[in-house]
């Protein structure tokens, strides 16, 4: 173990810190867009599914089943290499956020659907009785309560979205994993670069998990009396 620490080449990390930082910045960009986009999709389609809105509900079901039953890496290749032959030439950046958003959106659709359906009917009844329109009831009652019920599963989806950004190395988008691999390919210091990756991803994932679980405790619905 001590020889390991002795031969660990810190200078390689120091020399390449700017590139690695840029890579991390791009990872974060894609992640944030992915969180936002997948939430919007999840709420909209989850609500459509929960309320059995015709046509949209069925289409959403197909979307969810296709995305959840196929590997994300194949989806990424399909978007980046396949779509151009029907005219959609997407830059690596666009492919990156689009692929993770589509993937996260499918899972969030299920998460929010389950959350909305778990809102006790009497709460929605109460909203309608108070004179809210169905749409207002959704925003004032179903969404806040259903959203909180769905929180644990949506958090898991957000964390998975972050981990999936690492796959963008396959299309050359220079996010963190791609940058680390490129540096290792030239310097042959794979151990140092992968250690950096492990430390960064675990730190972000663990911190995010802990923060959100703390927040979840605050946001949790009061236990029924």
């Amino acid at each position: 173990m001590s020889t390991l620490l002795a031969t660990f080449d810190w200078t390689i990390i120091r020399e390449n810190l700017p590139d690695l930082a840029r890579g991390l910045e791009r990872t974060m960009q894609i992640w944030v867009i992915g969180i936002g986009g997948s939430t919007v999709i999840g709420v909209a389609l989850g609500a459509a599914r929960a309320n059995r809105i015709p046509v949209i509900s069925q289409l959403a079901a197909v979307y969810v089943e296709v995305i959840r039953n196929t590997p994300i890496l194949v989806q990424i290749f399909f978007v980046f290499y396949g779509l151009p032959s029907v005219g959609y030439n997407l830059t690596p950046f666009t492919t990156a956020w689009l692929a993770v958003t589509i993937w996260g959106g499918a899972f969030n659709t299920e998460n929010f659907r389950a959350g909305f359906e778990a809102v006790p009917f009497r709460f929605r009844e109460a909203g309608l009785a108070l004179g809210f329109t169905p749409l207002a009831t959704f925003f004032q009652v179903t969404l806040p309560i259903g959203g909180r019920i769905a929180l644990p599963s949506t958090i898991n989806t957000y964390i998975s979205v972050l981990k999936n950004t690492a796959l963008l190395t396959a299309i050359g988008y220079p996010e963190l994993t791609s940058v680390a691999r490129s540096i290792a390919a030239v310097t042959f210091r794979d151990f140092e670069m992968i250690t950096v990756l492990a430390v960064v991803y675990l730190t972000i994932v663990w911190t995010f998990s802990i923060l959100i679980r703390m927040l979840e405790a605050r946001l949790a619905l009061p236990k029924e009396a």
Binding site: L4, E65, V66, R68, N69, T70, P71, I72, L73, V74, Q75, F77, F78, Y81, G82, L83, P84, S85, V86, K163, N164, A166, L167, T169, A170, T177, R181, A184, D190, F191, I194, T195, L197, A198, Y201, L202, V205, W206
Partner: protein, 222 residues
């Protein structure tokens, strides 16, 4: 229906060579994940803090890392310590580390969901801790593990595609190579859309029934 000329060799390569590797890797990884995961998950319920902490660390690391980074670690970083694996083995081990962490967590949940009454009944019948677990608790927990295990199978099958990144000739990589070959020989038509679409179909056909099975088991067994 007459298929274009390029389809047959591509389909043959992808299904005969690629799919075989995918299924082989899936079988090995799922088996490894299940065995190690159930063992660790059961140990996680032991009242020994050190054991629980170690297993908890294992679970959090292999679930927290992107699987591709785990695979990179095994294939590219371990050789620094003279531990060398083939691409296939590196990918299979990486998947099994992740999978076993998932199963361990699921097992812990399943075991803890068995009501106290069962533990009390078992000790009333004269079973010790080990006997209670072996004869009463675990058999019931296994039933509850079946849906997550089927889900794990689906996830592992899909994640075998990550092995393409380190060059294993599973379905996705055979698709990549076919696209390449078509691109570089006349008439330079890569057919990427159809080929990657085909890969999506292959995985959908394998995963969808299993996902339905997991949902059915969830309703019936829990």
């Amino acid at each position: 229906m007459h298929l274009p000329d390029w389809v047959e060799p591509v389909a043959r390569y992808m299904l005969e060579t690629g799919l075989k590797e995918t299924l082989k890797m899936s079988a090995l990884s799922v088996t490894g994940s299940a065995v190690i995961g159930i063992l660790l998950g059961t140990l996680l319920t032991l009242p020994f803090l050190v054991v629980r902490a170690a297993i908890r660390l294992y679970i959090e690391i292999w679930r927290g890392l992107p699987i591709i980074v785990t695979i990179f670690f095994i294939f590219f970083a371990l050789p620094t310590f003279d531990i060398r694996f083939s691409p296939f083995t590196a990918a299979a081990v990486g998947l099994a580390l992740w999978g076993s962490a998932q199963v361990a967590e699921a097992t812990r949940g399943a075991v803890e969901s068995i009501p106290r009454e069962q533990h009390e009944a078992a000790s009333a019948l004269g079973f010790g801790w080990a006997g209670a677990h072996a004869h009463v608790i675990l058999p019931q927990a296994f039933r509850r593990l079946l849906p997550p295990l089927v889900s794990l199978l689906v996830n592992v099958v899909q994640n075998t595609t990550l092995a393409a990144v380190i060059g294993v000739a599973e379905v996705l990589e055979t698709a990549n190579r076919s696209v390449e070959r078509l691109q570089l020989t006349p008439p330079s038509e890569s057919h990427a859309l159809s080929i990657y679409g085909g890969v999506l179909v292959v995985f959908f056909v394998i995963s969808f029934p299993l996902t339905r099975l997991a949902a059915y088991l969830e309703r019936r067994l829990v």
